[in-house]
């Protein structure tokens, strides 16, 4: 069964968001998303320094079976990317909520987080 940590917010397009203490957010894809994709073989990471709008395409994940777009769950500046995923994309399969993070965003407006789903709301759309 997929896991849906309670401390995260989720986009309907299967990204998760964690608000950090410094006001930035960490972004990744959900356990449910990695399960659907299956073995991930390439990740085109977001561009560091880019200013992105919520729901803007920021990354592409290629699994053996399919290619999938990843969207920014919140507007802001991409201030860090997880370069380890370039050589070890399979980490997203094994640890989607920890080592498999994609990027960190400095949000333009933290209030946008309220528009995202909580764990229960997201789990419901994954059924």
């Amino acid at each position: 069964m997929s896991s849906f940590p309670e401390d995260l917010k989720y986009a309907a397009t299967h990204e998760w968001v964690r608000l950090e203490e410094d006001g930035t957010v960490t972004v990744g894809i959900s356990d449910h998303a990695q399960e659907l994709l299956g073995d991930i073989v390439f990740i085109e990471l977001p561009q560091e320094g880019a200013n992105v709008d919520a729901k803007q395409e920021i990354s592409v994940v290629e699994s053996v079976k399919a290619a999938s777009d990843i969207y920014a769950p919140i507007s802001g500046e991409i201030i860090a990317i997880n370069e380890d995923l370039i050589d070890a994309p399979e980490v997203v399969n094994s640890s989607p909520y920890t080592d498999g993070w994609f990027c960190r965003i400095l949000p333009n407006d933290e209030a946008e987080l309220e528009e995202l789903l909580d764990a229960n709301g997201y789990a419901a759309i994954c059924e």
């Binding site: 299956g38 073995d39 073989v41 390439f42 290629e62 053996v64 079976k65």
Partner: protein
């Protein structure tokens, strides 16, 4: 709910993710497609392919009819137990289906695709008019494919001694019958292996015994990556009723001799061969992408032919777990150079190779 094979419960027990495949509820993968793929290349795995359609053909004119029905010539099956891969063509010389035909102790056994079952049976019935043949579908039979370097040893451990002796000595594309069991050295992975066509009621027990000897269950996901690495066509993707076998890398499966053998579609495919020589009919070839990215079915290919830009298309594409880069089958014009694939709007250069990527666990193209 779709149709279920006698092993459906076994798949659930093994943690399979079930998908619809041509109306059947089939396991796409158990835990990881990648692990399943490597298990077959390095050790041994078992596939439930009971969804495929088994058709027994018998009667005084069985041979004569199959020589008319199929583009390959069953006259090559000069001994019991020999197997042959063939296209079944329509009058336009396009592919109705691809299949394996075995010579049995009495008559012949055909294994055709599951997605084409009704169409094939209708086609065969129609083409049998005027021939003294019986065509009998065998839904009472299950098929387990056991493939990988250790497969034959593993299966033989489970068989009675005399049968094990026979099976261990089977040559490629040879089969043996033992009562209502049929065991063939055929498959769809590019590895050594066996296909066991057995009564439905025997399938769950054989499955359990294979798993108990350490054979891994393999889903249809890895079946697809394995067959594509082996450069084998998939019906409905690499060829169908709109495609000539000449444009699907199947010319060598057509028996042109003897010239007087009239098989369905013969005149048309002879013309296709001429057209291809003149550059008017494309070919199915292999392509490899050695940089990052995955080639996918339907992606557009841009090539140069005699200095002019032309197009082709990917018919099957995947990431190759063995080679760690992407491979594909593609239909492109004869004489193509400077081949590029349109991946999400960006043209990436790819290399054209023979459509055969991996055999017996090793890279085979240059």
């Amino acid at each position: 709910m779709g149709l279920q094979t006698p092993l459906y419960q076994k798949h659930l027990d093994a943690g399979a993710r079930i998908v619809d495949f041509g109306g059947w509820d089939m396991p796409i993968q158990y835990q990881s497609l990648m692990d399943e793929h490597h298990a077959v290349r390095q050790h041994c795995g078992v596939f439930d392919v009971s969804h495929m359609t088994v058709v027994d053909v018998d009667g005084p004119q069985a041979k004569q009819w199959l020589q008319y029905l199929l583009a390959n010539d069953v006259a090559k099956l000069d001994e019991e137990g020999r197997a042959l891969y063939s296209a079944m063509l329509n009058e336009d010389g396009h592919v109705v289906d691809d299949l394996i035909v075995y010579r049995m102790s009495s008559g012949y056994r055909l294994v055709v695709n599951c997605g084409t079952r009704e169409k094939d049976l209708r086609w065969m019935d129609r083409q049998a008019l005027g021939f003294d043949v019986s065509i009998c579908e065998r839904p009472d039979l299950a098929i387990l494919a056991v493939h990988g370097p250790e497969s034959i040893d593993k299966v033989c451990q489970l068989l009675p001694e005399v049968l094990a002796e026979t099976v261990s000595k089977l040559g490629n594309f040879r089969a043996t019958e033992a009562d209502d069991w049929f065991i063939a050295r055929t498959g769809y992975t590019g590895e050594r292996g066996l296909e066991l066509i057995i009564p439905n009621e025997d399938a769950p027990d054989l499955w359990d015994r294979l798993i108990a000897t350490g054979v891994k269950p393999i889903g249809l996901g890895a079946r697809d990556t394995l067959r594509l690495e082996a450069g084998m066509n998939l019906y409905g993707h690499d060829m169908d009723e709109t495609v000539s076998p000449i444009a699907a890398n199947m010319a060598q499966t057509i028996a042109w001799e003897p010239k007087e053998r009239e098989f369905i579609g013969r005149n048309a495919v002879e013309q296709h061969l001429e057209q291809q020589k003149q550059g008017l009919l494309p070919e199915l070839t292999g392509i490899v992408l050695e940089e990052r990215g995955v080639l996918r079915e339907g992606q557009r290919i841009v090539v140069e032919v005699n200095g002019e830009e032309a197009e082709g298309i990917i018919t099957s594409g995947t990431f190759s777990p063995t080679l760690k880069h992407s491979i594909a089958l593609a239909r492109i014009p004869i004489g193509s150079t400077n081949c590029r694939v349109d991946m999400r709007g960006k043209l990436s250069p790819v290399r054209i190779v023979k459509p055969n990527f991996v055999r017996f666990g090793k890279k085979v193209f240059e």
